[in-house]
């Protein structure tokens, strides 16, 4: 994985201030997390926040403080893109570089930041004040272009707003002041809404309509764990993160596993480009989420839970901490929940640090354990042996929220919505070329066309269902239904109109997967690079018809031999466009002349040698004379 900590050409990295950090400060940070090696990500995040980098000497101290070896610490520190081994600016601006942002004027915004700050993307200013970099989708596609400025999010950037923001920062204003002059006096919820709009366009019956407080939980305490699981099973609820595994069954497996401890983890690492539904739930329904987790804890007998929040959503940390604190105060978390003796459950918030792969169940658990976010070998499955080896239920934010509502209104109520096999409602996060991007809560079973009418995208030419790892469909498939059996999606719907270049989109998505592959297994680490190169051949018009077979064959190999879901789905942008937009590929590929490859450019291949030898080629320079 690329670490994104390169400093630019010629810009001297400011001397790392960490060199001066007294040992006891690092020791104090370690102590704050109980010198627990499983809290490595928290420790490193705090060091990064405070000293702007994790210097080699610091790593030694952290290793000593947690009883690990230096290389183990470095393994974690170098894995996550929000952690840096070289000093970052006091203000780090991360421009969201998703394809939707690019189509919404990211270039102009980037140019303004570069001009005002006097550095290029990827650089840190010489005085150590600013770093400017890009990052994949930060979950703001409905209000693109967006950027993170330290822990603050700026949305709907234009060259004008970018200029005033950059100038204000340069004049010494804090990122928080960019959001509001009265930032300090706002509640966490108000702060979040000042930064990021919810854009709820259609509230459905289950999640975004009126929700009574903790009604599901109070029902759950009067039920046995087995009854809770049966209710969730009967509702037909399936995981909302993308894979669609039956939630009740997952809980049953975990509950039936005999172990000293059980864990419940909420996956709020919503990294799939174009997905931002969990962002809205975390902002508007945090209590419902925690309620759902608490119910799951009762069902499987867990006393501890983790809410894994993606690093990009750090602006929601305060809000969530406040919710957890409030629930502890009200006796809804902690010991003897709702006065029920023996029903103990508490949740800790674990912040990620910018790694898409951590949305994968196993990688997420690794990350919670303070390890690099690498997937685990399956089996054993997390329900059998997950976090620290204990049976663990990992569910998506939306799944837990649904579960809480099901316990309130009953399985039948939920089961009656949607279609056979896909029950209930689903949050769709729709963005791209449409009039009303945002969140739509709808029962399963709507066609893509109905959805496009709702969002005002009648001129849509291509729709990416389920983000890059999903399917790209053309107009002739708009009659297809959004269900698990037809077009499955974790919620992302990205709309492209006829003016967009399909191959450009595919190339972007492949570069995304190249960047986000954890690098553990070769098919994914290397194969995606080859796929990306092959696509760029098509874009340059240098591809042969047989390159289409190559794409299919290599994609097949990657899917079959990768270790986790990332590699198993990363060729999808190519495979689904080959299937649904075949003319795009055939239009730009032509047979090579005499079997000579056009992609091999002899002139650029010998250019370096020409300069070193200070002579021209007697074979390939036509005007060669001795």
């Amino acid at each position: 994985m690329e670490n994104g900590h390169k400093t630019g050409n010629g810009v001297a990295a400011p001397a790392c201030e960490v060199a001066k950090v007294p040992e006891e400060e690092i020791a104090a940070i370690c102590a704050r997390y109980g010198c627990d090696k499983h809290r490595m990500l928290d420790i490193l995040r705090e060091v990064q926040d405070r000293y702007r980098c994790i210097a080699p000497s610091t790593m030694d101290r952290i290793a000593a403080g947690t009883g690990l070896t230096r290389i183990e610490v470095e393994g974690v520190a170098s894995f996550y893109s929000f952690l840096s081994l070289v000093p970052k600016g006091r203000v780090t601006i991360r421009l969201c570089d998703d394809i939707v942002d690019r189509y919404s004027g990211l270039d102009a915004v980037t140019a303004v930041f570069e001009e005002v700050l006097g550095i290029r993307t990827g650089e840190t200013s010489a005085d150590g004040a600013f770093s400017l970099e890009t990052t994949p989708c930060i979950g703001m596609c409905d209000q693109a272009p967006a950027a993170m400025v330290n822990d603050v999010v700026l949305t709907r950037l234009t060259p004008e707003t970018a200029r005033s923001a950059a100038e204000a920062l340069k004049a010494g204003q804090s990122p928080e002041q960019l959001v509001s002059e009265r930032f300090a006096s706002l509640t966490p919820h108000e702060r979040a809404l000042h930064m990021v709009g919810n854009n709820i366009r259609h509230a459905g019956e289950v999640l975004l309509g009126p929700v009574p407080e903790d009604a599901g939980l109070s029902n759950a305490v009067s039920m046995t764990p087995a009854q809770i699981i049966t209710t969730v099973e009967e509702s037909g609820l399936r995981g909302c993160g993308g894979a669609g595994y039956t939630t009740g069954r997952k809980w049953r497996f975990a509950a039936s596993e005999r172990a000293e401890k059980h864990f419940v983890i909420c996956n709020a690492d919503e990294g799939e480009p174009g997905t931002f539904k969990d962002r809205v739930l975390l902002t508007e329904r945090p209590h419902l989420l925690v309620e759902g987790m608490t119910i799951a804890a009762r069902a499987v007998g867990a006393r501890e839970g983790i809410l894994y929040l993606r690093g990009e959503y750090v602006y929601l940390r305060e809000l969530l901490e406040q919710v957890l604190e409030e629930r502890r105060r009200r006796g809804l978390l902690g010991e003897a929940i709702l006065g029920v003796k023996g029903f103990d459950f508490d949740i800790r918030l674990q912040l990620g640090a910018g790694a898409y792969i951590c949305g994968e169940e196993g990688a997420l658990i690794s990350s919670c354990e303070g390890l690099p976010g690498e997937p685990k070998t399956r089996p054993p499955f997390p329900v059998n042996r997950g976090y620290l080896g204990y049976p663990t239920v990992v569910n998506n934010v939306e799944t837990f929220c649904h579960a809480a509502r099901i316990l309130d209104r009953g399985a039948k109520w939920f089961h009656a919505m949607g279609t056979e096999g896909s029950h209930g409602t689903k949050l769709f996060s729709i963005c791209g070329d449409c009039l009303n991007p945002g969140i739509y809560e709808l029962p399963y079973g709507h066609t893509v066309r109905e959805l496009l009418e709702m969002v005002g995208a009648e001129d849509a030419a291509a729709v990416q269902v389920g983000g890059p790892s999903g399917t790209m469909i053309a107009r002739d498939s708009f009659h297809r239904k959004l269900t698990f059996d037809d077009l499955a999606t974790g919620g992302a719907i990205i709309v492209f109109n006829g003016a967009r270049n399909i191959l450009e989109i595919v190339e972007y998505y492949m570069s995304f997967f190249v960047h986000e592959s954890c690098g553990y297994c070769t098919p994914c680490r290397v194969g995606n690079v080859f796929l990306q190169k092959a696509i760029s051949k098509f874009r340059k018009g240098l591809a042969n018809p047989e390159d289409i077979d190559y794409l299919k064959e290599l994609s097949g190999t990657i899917i079959e031999t990768s270790r986790c879901g990332l590699g198993m789905t990363s060729p999808n942008p190519i495979l689904s466009t080959l299937k649904n937009f075949p003319l795009v590929y055939s239009a730009v590929s032509k047979p090579s002349k005499d079997g000579i490859r056009d992609t091999f450019d002899i002139q650029s291949a010998i250019d370096g040698a020409r300069k070193i030898a200070k002579r021209r080629s007697y074979i390939f320079d036509k005007d060669f004379t001795q």
């Binding site: 042969n544 090579s592 005499d594 079997g595 000579i596 490859r597 992609t599 091999f600 002899i602 650029s604 291949a605 010998i606 250019d607 370096g608 040698a609 020409r610 070193i612 030898a613 200070k614 002579r615 080629s617 007697y618 074979i619 390939f620 001795q626």
Partner: protein, 189 residues
Amino acid sequence: MSELPKARIATASLAGCFGCHMAILDIDERLIDLMKLVDVDRSPLTDKKRFTQRCDIGIIEGGCCNEENVHVLHDFRRNCDVLIALGQCAIMGGLPAMRNAIMHSDAPLRECLDEAYITGKYIRNTTHHVPNDPALPLLLDEVYPCSQVVEIDYQIPGCAPSGDIIFDTLAKLLTGKFRGFERDMIKFD
């Protein structure tokens, strides 16, 4: 003696060590059988430097590390109906492609030449110059497998491929019976 017209084959060694050509000779006494089926045109084995006529099969050892390799390979592609990459260097770049691993340098080729001729620990080069005779072909920026420069029809793996696999493949290709390799022939451990 068959009445069929003999097939014409040509061979060349590009950025290789000539090991694959030695392996061709490992066909041993079956060479006599093979020669009943083929005439050898341009090849180091015949010392013919140019094509005398169009060939049915061209066999390439080695990848492309300099402009002359590219030139020869183009020539083979234009003059042969079927082109075979013989051995790991032709297929993947092989050992010479180790220099492609000099990646994090602004001038990898310069770095490679300097180490090979000037700064290397075990170099005894009293001139302290990188050879630069005008007759030397210019090096490419990196070493390319043949399939990146021209279309390749078949690849015979191995370093070097055994005489058996070379004979077997050629014999089958010439009689139109080639259906892929036997497992034991491409099992190397």
